[in-house]
Structure formats: C-alpha cells, structure tokens
Symmetry: C2
Subunit: 376 residues, 2 copies
C-alpha cells in the first residue's frame, strides 16, 4: 500500500473549536478543469454614488440623512434583527420541544469610509486603524447596555456573500444571549484549558492553564516550515487553520499573549491588528485579481456581568475567550468559480477540495501590494 | 408592556436535533420591499440534451457512455470525494490539535429518469417509487461494503444550490465514519430517549423509551391547529419544524411507528413516502412558480456492525435513529430573492425572517397540482 499523503488521500480533520470534522478530498483538485483562472472581475465603482444610502449626506430608507462624515460612520440598522429591551416575556413552552427564549439587543452599521469605492484592503493604514477603534467603541458602548451578553462584529463583503450595498461597511449585532457559535467555542476553550500546556513557549491562558488558541498559534509557529501561516507581524498571525472548511479560510489572532477582547489591545497591538487586516485582505484581492468576497466575524469575550450583579465569580468567560477573527471566503478556483457548501456539507459534514497547506501556500505567494495600486 | 407575539417579537428557538439556537426576527418581514413576487423563472429544458453527460447514451467526462437507461440509472461518481478501501494509514498526529483520520468509501450518482427536463415533482408516481427503491438498494449495497458506517443520500437541486447539471439526479456519499451532522443528531436522539414519553399516543422508540422524532411528530399532530404541518398522508408527515433555519425548510418523516431506515419500510410505507415527496416538491415549485432549488438529505440508521464483529451490543444506533429527510431551500421572497446565510449566521447563529408558522401556512396554501401541469 502507498504511504499516506495528505495532499492526495481523502481524510478527515478535527476542528477543536467547534468539535466537528471536515472531510478533505484533495484529489478532487485533480479534475481536468481545475486551476483555470477566468477573467478578473473588474471593480469600477464611483467614489460617490448618489443612489447609495451609505454615502455621506444621502438619505436612507428610513428618511434619515447620513451626516457628511469624513472617516468612519455608525448608525443603527433601520431593519434590525434584534430590538432594544424590554422584550415581552415569552410564554411558558407547552412542551420541552417547543421552547422559546426572548432576546433583545440592537444592530449597528459601521461604514468604513466616505469613499464608496474603497474596500478595507484599499484604505490607508490610518483609516483601518479608525475602523479598529470604532469596533472597540461599539464593543464597549453596546456592552454597557443592560442585559447585553454578546457583541457580534461581522462583515459581509461582496454580493455573493449577501451584501446588499457595495459601499464598504460592516455590522454589529448585540444580543442578550451568547449566540450558538461563540458559545460552542467558549465551551471548547474551557474544556481545553483543563490540561497542561504542551507547546514550549506558548503563552498561557487563564489561571496559567493552556489556552487552545494561544497553544495552537505557537504550535504553528514552531513547525519546521510554517506551512499554514500566511502572514505574521509583531503581534498578529494569520493562518489557514488545520481544520479550515472554506477554500481560503483564515484564522487571524494575536499570538504574543492571551488577549480576550479588542478592548484589551495596547496601542501597538491595535496598530499591528490594522496592519494584518490590510495584509490579508490585500492578499485575498490579489489571489484572483478581484474584490474578494468573504464573511468575516470577530470572536471574543462575552460581555462580563456588571460588577454589582449576582452572577457567581466562577464565570470566567472574560479569561477563557481568546480574541480571533474568522474569514470565510467562498471563491475556490477563480474570481467566478466558487465552492458551494450544499448537499453533503449541509446534511452531513464540511468538505473541502484543496488542503489548508495548499491554500496557505497560494496566499503566501500573493503580493502584499494591492493589484490595483499600480493602476490608480 | 405588550404581550409576546411570536410573529412580531424577535426570539430564539432551540433545535433539539443539533442542540443549537435559531434567532427568529419576524419583524424583518415588515421591510417596505417585502412580499414582492418577481416574474416566475421559466424552465424550458429539452427532453434530451446531447451535451448533457447524464442523458441516456451520452458519454461522461471519464469517456464511459451511459446505458440507454429507461428509468433510474446509477453510476459511480467520476470525481468521488471519498475513495474505496484500503485507505493508507494516517501518521500519528504530532500534536492533539493536528489530528488526521483516514476515511474510505465511495460516491454514487443516481439519475432519476431519462428525461432531462423532468424534476422529482414532475415525475409520475411509479417513477418516484423507483427512485425510493433505488435509495434502498444503494443503502443496502453500499452498506454491505466492508467498513461502511454511513450512507448519506442527498440531492442538490438548482444551480443556486451548487448543482452543476440540471438533469435531475441525486448522490450518495458512503463513508467509513459517521459524518458530523448525523452523528450530532444521533447523540441528541440518544440523550432524549433517557426519559418518559410525554405526548399521548406517540409511538415509542428503542426499548419503549421515547424517540425525539416520534414524539415531536405526534406533538405537532396533537396541536389544536396543525400550525407547522404542511402535508400528511397515511404514513408520512411534512412540517416546518419549530426550529427551522431556512425560510421554507421542511422535515419529512414517517409518524405511525418508529422506523430507523429506508430498508425497514413496508410496501405501503414506501408508496406513501413517494407520495409525500411528490406533494412537498410540487408545493415548493408552486410557491414561487419556479423550479424550486433546495438541498435535501436523508438521515437514518448508520450501517450496523456486521454480526460477527467485536463491537459491543450496546451499540444501538440501529434503534436510536428515526428515518427523516431535511429540505433546505434558500428562496425567501420570490423565484429570484433568496435568504443568505452569511455573516451573522456563519459567525454567530442561524437567523430567520419569517416564522416557521408563517412559512407552513404559505406552503399549505399551495396547490398539490404542479403549476406547469395545465400548460403541458
Ligand atoms: O458533486 P457535485 O455535484 O459536482 O458538487 C456539488 O455537490 C457537492 C456535495 O454537496 C459539493 O461538495 C459541491 O461543492 C457542489 O458543487
Ligand atoms: O443585514 P443585511 O446586509 O441586509 O443582510 C445580510 O446580512 C445578514 C446578517 O448576516 C443576513 O441575515 C442576510 O441574509 C444578509 O443578506
């Protein structure tokens, strides 16, 4: 029998954050029509669009006009998925299989910049830093509202990721409950930190116990060849995780110390954060020479209970969480050929067609200068 | 404060099969542009397409020609995601966060009918029955192969669900491991069956203990108004589950007795199965007067270990499983406006814009006669 070769033989990998498997079928990349790269998607948006409800001064569908803003701009979503407290109490469930839980909170839109045509990878460093600062503001402001448990910051970029307006923006949905996915991750992080650190030099998490993500970052850094690492700077690391589902999925996280939320970042760490965001989004755009679509989400510490609350002190979510970002981009082969996570993936298990190592190598090879820079 | 109204107030529901929450935001359906139904997508496919690699007699990309088949037709996927045993042994993981598991199995394509233009809702009953019989054959044949643990039957219908060939077909992926999602469901079913039945008249599952799905089906049937039920016949039920994620998601299952796999269906139950498949897929097409896209998956008993195996007898997966189908359709508002499960949904929690009760009412109101029938 031949030797096992992860870039040839189907196998399953384990995602320790979600405690799920992913089926890796790299031989599928051997299909005859593989590797074809189609004509790059050209993005020629105007700097200002009078019909855009996100451009400065324009009116939104609620009738309210945007300020003539000059940097970032935040407003409350006109069609919020969660509404402010008080939420009416839900009735007692007639059966344990029909349970309802009330939820309250709020939804914000954060516009990155007045320019309708400048996505995150195209913004100057100072403007990306303002976006980072605005995330921190939202996390703190929303977090202070009574009953807030989680502030989910996310960006849908590109129409194929359900983004309805190309003017670069992201959203925060704030909830009175920890949503399913962050809550699963917190449970995994908590379970993992039961043991002893096993990677030399990895910073430790709460109470000196290993943090899964601190340990994982150092494990990747300690590999002979940094095979899944795409970019690294003073404080942050971007890698295609061992268990990635999306073709060019990335996990972006601080690696020098255990940091539980964006509110805990020092000035240097914020700066470094803005820089790695530019690096990875520029590489993404360069991969297929297009404005690369993705969903991005920030996972971090749930909102700690207020100091005078009666919640018991063994609620150590503030220590357990390790700040990180997920990028879930759908493109697989070119600017116009995507991976569909459907049928088998929806009903059975995540499946991918190229290995995380192959994806990382391709992203590593991409320039850190945006492909449109020479033409601007 | 106003009373709680599930069709107005945001709330969370619990999915007991996956042990996850779904955020229901029905007030989002109050957006001004809601309810608009766009021009129906017209489907005018030829009965035979010489360029289709699934039509009878045509050659596939492997060079092999299809038989001149007259009913269903099965062949092994030319680009299978899993390959036959023996799979080379994976090396020992260098760290617990980098674990690999070898996997083997096979992938089949099942063409429903020689006609290139006839989807499941358009096939006569006798032909749907042949599809059901073929599923049973595949489950049994693949199940007998050494090391098989799970036979996942699924259909991707429509190009927006990643289907690359409109000739109606489905697939089976057979694996030497129970995939993530069925495995989670089995764990939930096992946990649920620890208690006492609580719904009068619900058939009981293994060892007389309640089966979550038997009990849930009877709970829905026992509600004053069958608010989430879309269709019902002698043996099968189709409903929008309390915890549905996709706008018009359906759960389709036998409700008269605990049935763990398609191989256990009696003649009557098979007939009834074929009929409910027609009913729900016809209603789907009628909803927006288009060929309604979806991913469908059959969940059932994992392959029992061979009789002479050393697996312990407390492995009662064969009893725990209750046969059911999930339909995951993306359309939300019209033949051309879908729901995107992106950003918040990928990073935090499933979210839906209309209640399961509203979705069920709309599907119930759809005719059981296909909208194209009068024009054919
Ligand atoms: O096997 P197909 O039809 O080529 O491919 C389709 O179904 C597969 C199984 O759900 C997915 O992995 C692919 O992304 C999808 O395009
Ligand atoms: O809020 P938007 O941009 O209108 O909508 C987009 O993002 C939301 C949050 O991920 C999703 O629920 C919607 O399906 C998507 O189209």
């Amino acid at each position: 029998m031949t030797d096992f070769d992860p870039s040839t033989h189907p196998h399953r990998r384990f995602n320790p954050l979600l405690e799920e498997h992913v089926l890796v079928s790299p031989h599928r990349m051997k299909r005859p029509w593989l590797g074809q790269v189609e004509a790059p998607q050209t993005t020629t948006l105007p700097q200002y669009d009078e019909k855009c409800y996100l451009c400065p001064g324009n009116s939104r569908s609620s009738g309210v006009a945007n300020d003539p803003y000059e940097h970032t701009y935040v407003f409350e979503n006109d069609f919020a998925a969660v509404l402010p407290a008080p939420a009416p109490a839900a009735p007692v469930a007639p059966h344990r299989l029909l349970s309802t839980e009330p939820v309250h909170g709020g939804c914000d839109v954060l516009i990155f910049h007045p320019r309708h045509d400048l996505t995150l990878p195209q913004l100057p460093h100072s403007e990306v830093l303002r976006v980072v600062q605005e995330w921190i503001n939202l996390y703190l402001t929303r977090g202070r509202q009574e009953g807030t448990k989680y502030v989910q910051i996310f960006e849908n970029k590109g129409s194929i990721m359900g983004c309805s307006n190309p003017h670069p923006h992201c959203q925060t949905w704030t909830l009175s409950a920890i949503p399913t996915i962050p809550s699963k991750e917190l449970a995994s992080l908590r379970r993992y930190s039961g043991g002893e650190p096993s990677v030399d030099g990895a910073p430790s998490g709460p109470k000196g116990r290993p943090c899964l993500l601190c340990e994982y970052a150092h494990l990747e850094l300690s590999q002979e060849s940094e095979r899944r690492i795409v970019a690294k700077n003073d404080h942050w690391l971007a890698l295609v995780p061992w268990w990635a589902t999306w073709p060019f999925e990335l996990l972006v996280l601080p690696y020098r110390r255990h940091i539980s939320s964006i509110a805990d970042l020092t000035g240097d760490e914020k700066d470094s954060f803005a820089r790695i965001l530019t690096t990875v989004t520029v590489k993404y755009d360069n991969l297929f020479q297009c404005s690369f679509a993705y969903s991005m989400g920030i996972h971090q510490r749930p909102i700690p209970p207020p100091e005078n609350s009666t919640v018991l002190p063994d609620n150590d979510e503030d220590n357990i969480a390790h700040l990180h970002l997920h990028f879930a981009p759908p493109l697989l082969r070119s600017a116009s050929v995507r991976k569909f996570l459907v049928g088998f993936e929806l009903m059975a298990e995540a499946q991918r067609d190229l290995t995380p190592e192959q994806a990382a190598a391709r992203l590593r090879a991409c320039s850190e200068n945006h492909y449109l820079d020479s033409t601007r």
